[in-house]
Symmetry: C2
Subunit: 422 residues, 2 copies
């Protein structure tokens, strides 16, 4: 048995197949306008899961599904255990009308690493686990990154199963309906190290033409739902002074949140979902319900932003004579990744001759949950014009393959390998 190193490995990504699988999975849930929608635990998500499972089984990976529907494909190392595993993971659910790469790229590149071992007839010394986590996007069910949160012990199973979808369906019911409530005890497969390869979903690498982003830390995320209660009244007869207009109050908050983002160094604020009631052209809205997505790489600044928002709400409540209630949907502190793994990614890029830089992730990723329980790192490739969560999301094939090669090199170095046939 000889332990492999990047220098002498014969492991190679099957690049044609990787790109083909990204294309195929990206077509699941596609609509005529060119976007795809695979909300967590929907029929479309089930179709993508079935396809992924099939591909895992074609590589003779041991497929395990846990009670929240997280999917694990295991390539065992020297023993038939999951101890001291390296996990490569991401997700295959999407937002509404999404691009083709977000999540999918990371899971299928993990699969490509497993395939590289299979095709070279080599067995890794440590086990490799390819993971697809349930409901990373959090569009249908909150909180987001739920699968990896559960996997790392951050949420009780019963609470996760009781999450109510934006369509009113309970997560547990949706999970059973698509047949993905598995029996695997997730603690069996808790890894020692975790790698996630992802498109940046931001403009930095693309704008300065860098191949590889070595993610140093990940923004903290605060998700809230705000409900404003005003008074429905006739649009034509009610003077401004007598209005308690929930819609106007919501608009003031949206404008305030933009000002907050502009005044801060790194705080990002978004109101992506909003509803008025009764939602009629000639009736002053009695209710406005909307979400706030606030992020910052610094926990102190994130808390500061949340406090400023609350202070503004208190003031607005008095000014407009409306009721305001705030519910926290998700709250994650910023994460700093493992410096040893980050250095390994940087080395691998340098050896391959790719340019790289340290970068902050603006998006939340399953990696931030894994960072709570093991050494974790993320590798980014450029997103054209920084566009993501949009059908126009794009990274060139060559950029995608560079990321996959770096992932393979880091993973094979960490896993080691023998020349024994499998």
């Amino acid at each position: 048995m000889s332990v492999g190193t990047p220098g002498n490995t014969r492991l190679e990504i099957d690049e044609t197949l990787l790109l083909k699988q990204i294309e195929l999975l990206g077509k699941v849930g596609i609509d005529p306008s060119g976007g795809r929608t695979r909300l967590a635990l929907s029929e479309q998500d089930k179709m993508a899961r079935d396809l992924l499972q099939q591909w895992m089984k074609e590589l003779a990976l041991d497929v395990k599904i846990d009670p929240l529907g997280n999917i694990f494909g295991i390539l065992y190392g020297e023993g038939d255990s999951c101890a001291n595993a390296l996990m490569i993971g991401s997700h295959i659910d999407t937002v509404i009308n999404a691009g083709p790469l977000d999540g999918v790229y990371g899971v299928l590149s993990g699969l490509a690493v497993a395939r590289a071992f299979r095709e070279a007839g080599m067995r890794p010394i440590r086990p490799l686990i390819v993971a697809a986590f349930t409901n990373e996007e959090g569009v249908r069910f909150q909180p987001d990154m739920m699968g990896s949160l559960f996997f790392t012990g951050g949420i009780f199973l019963d609470d996760a199963l009781a999450a109510k979808g934006s369509d009113g369906v309970l997560l547990g019911d949706a999970l059973r309906r698509i047949g993905y409530a598995g029996g695997t005890d997730p603690s069996l497969v808790l890894p020692a190290e975790y790698l996630e390869l992802h498109v940046e979903q931001g403009p930095v690498l693309d704008s300065i033409k860098i191949d590889i982003g070595v993610v140093e830390h990940l923004q903290g995320i605060s998700w809230k739902q705000i409900e404003i209660s005003g008074t429905a009244n006739h649009a034509g007869t009610t003077p401004v002074s007598m209005r308690h207009d929930a819609g106007y109050a919501a608009a003031k908050i949206i404008v305030f949140l933009r000002e907050l983002a502009c005044a801060s160094e790194n705080t990002r604020t978004t109101v992506g979902s909003l509803r008025f009631l009764p939602d009629a052209i000639n009736v002053i809205p009695s209710k406005a319900v909307f979400t706030v997505d606030m992020r910052d790489p610094d926990e102190g600044r994130l808390v500061d932003g949340e406090e400023k928002l609350l202070a503004f709400l208190r003031e607005l409540q008095m000014e407009e004579g409306v009721g305001i209630s705030v519910e926290t949907l998700a709250r994650f502190k910023p994460v700093r990744f493992d410096s040893e793994l980050a250095a390994a990614v940087e080395d691998a890029a340098r050896i391959r001759g790719f340019s790289s830089m340290r970068i902050v992730s603006g998006a939340g990723h399953d990696a931030q949950m894994l960072a709570r329980v093991c050494k974790a790192a993320m590798i980014f490739v450029p997103s054209q014009d920084g566009i993501s969560h949009n059908p126009a999301e794009h990274t060139t094939d060559e950029q995608l393959l560079r990321g996959a090669r770096v992932l393979l090199d880091v993973a094979s170095e960490r896993l080691g390998h023998t020349g024994s046939s499998l």
Copy 2:
């Protein structure tokens, strides 16, 4: 034959029955929270129409329904023709989660006037027509006041039937589905005079404790739908400078419209309906679609408000890098009512010993369409706290009856009557 006058008439409103019918009609489409929803041409609207028809037939009125579903109950005068008729009308459709009185009060008070003739065994000299116009509210189908607009020749039948509902259903299909596409040629019943009794839906009469509002004129109405096209992108990664946030642009417009209303003497602005796409917590909205309701009793000021809005949209389009399109849903100039009829209402109130004042209507009413083709007037009674388009809409029984008595007096004076049994 002796022509009746308010001094010698024996005509009386059946007050108990009028209040009972208002209560009964107000229960159609009621929901557990206490509001009622009878959107135009819905199943609930059909139930209300059926009830109204039944009550018209109990009074042996000749019921006619025109091709847009407007309902007319005719009490013939000396001849069996509709020539030189006095019409008393309003509507029985509602907004979403409405109060009990808006529209219903006027139609049923018209019925109470017809009943007064029947119960006294008297025949009017001129014909009396009680009218319920289709889709006054305009919540499901635009434009609002559509039935009276059609009746007075302001919209072609085919265009009205092709209006697409907020639920996607075509008006013509909805009308046929509930069986109210009638065959009466509406020009047969074009009246010489029109009266409409209505709750004020504003705070003026209630706040200064006046019994009767003599409506001098009616605000102009401008309804627009604005669609903003931005770029969907990731909420966590996209810097402010790279955002084209359709939701933020919509919020800026809502705040601008409030400022416009505050800066103007009488302009009222409301954004009652709004939708974001893709409507996801972590995606910058690519689209925002919302309505603008702008009103002013002065046409010059209304045009000025519309122009200021368009100028703001042009500026915003540049600033935020978004596309903005504007569609006019409805546009009605302010209306001045007939001074002779207004004086008759004032006289009738004075003779009854009720306080009255001249007033501007903030709401749109079918009367403004009728004012295009005949002498028209409106009578208002107070709305408690000015609340309308809300389940809390309320006027006391005594206030409702005062309005009905004034309506009866004005109508019987205009119609004249004989003592002959019918």
